[in-house]
Symmetry: none
DNA sequence: GTGGTCTAGACCACC
DNA sequence: GTGGTCTAGACCACG
């Protein structure tokens, strides 16, 4: 799995790592039992402070997505946490709300955003 | 114009004010020449420190959206800064990218997001 | 004498008035004994607060450039204050220093400014 | 890079810092990628409140001159914002206009100013 | 009355 | 360690 960070995005590094891991798991690129890069290795690979990697892994572990085996490494949990459907929907709502608010601040309408997302879909298909 | 802050959102107060002003201008609720609430008045209204309001107004002034006349008040600029079409598109791209990145982190597909936004559209119509 | 204010310049109104009066006297447009517009008249003419006019006139009176005769009006002093040559030079130095500093902040060289001033000279001749 | 403040000038501290940074970048004393003094360090060095330094750095960041990396420090942007040539000329015009206006207020002619600036040039050469 | 600047100090987020 | 946000309150400048 390949990680990449964007320092200019304003999104903190540890969040970018978290999202990339979640994305990889959601896509199936990372399967239960798969090992993740070691903290030190990943830190070197993407040129960041090991503490930042630790923080990302720890949060993912707290969520139940990862498991660390002392001395062995960090792995994708065998039992992926089931997210309550209601909770899940609320999550999406929250994300959509925030981004729409930001978009409207720049004068974009809901349709503008809708078109933007549709366009991505075409590009990816 | 009505302002409201959400202390739990994690979004800094001054950013919330900035976005609400931008939104109001984009919607036409605030027109060029209109006076904004005075710093002290708004501070009292939404129960925050005047310095925080000043900061929000100041950033909007630096962007060219507002103008302040010492001793008189703060107004919406007569000449709203024109946003370059290319710049605008890049802005939308960035917003959509973040929207999708955040959503995918929770396992949502592009279609899930599309549905989420569509749903908003129906609600608002 | 015609006054005009530029609200966008950032220079406070009372300073703009002061400089315009000084300029008019320096040019000879206003001679010793000449009456200036009354405070109220000028305030109406240029659409500002009378207090602002009062402030400008008062500072000019303190410098000895104007004299107010209660109930009669404000006049250019018969005896224009002589500014010490050294003081005068220091004044110019200070003005030049500040503006050059600001110009350099935008990457302009001393020659750029020099050219800018020369250009004005040609335009005015 | 050495900073120095003049409390008597009437120019706000944060503006003085901004102009000194711009000047240093324009001169090449600060190059893209260079780190600036930390907020706290600079605050101690020039004996002002850290908030004032933050404010200066922040405005420079909004202009695109600096970039801050949370937890790491503040750096000169790799891509310095390009100033539109027209915009640049307007800026110079504005500076020259103010220079002449202020000078004429003290009875200096355009030639006096020209001499004053020329003199600076000789001194600096 | 209006906005602007600065300080002091608390608390937070990130690396 | 780094920068960021917010508060409280003083003092100033402008109209």
């Amino acid at each position: 799995m390949v990680f990449s960070l964007d320092a200019k995005s304003g999104v903190p590094f540890y969040r970018q790592i978290i999202e990339q891991v979640k994305f990889a798991v959601a896509r199936g690129d990372l399967k239960p039992g798969d090992q993740l890069p070691t903290v030190r290795q990943l830190a070197v690979d993407i040129s960041i402070n090991p503490n930042t990697v630790i923080r990302a892994y720890r949060e993912l572990e707290l969520e139940g997505l990862l498991e660390t085996q002392q001395g062995s490494g960090t792995y994708v949990s065998e039992k992926q946490p089931e997210i309550d459907a209601v909770e899940r929907q609320r999550m999406l709502d929250q994300i959509v709300t925030e981004l729409l608010a930001r978009a409207s601040g720049y004068g974009f309408t809901l349709d503008d955003v809708l078109d933007g997302v549709r366009q991505r879909k075409e590009e990816s298909s």
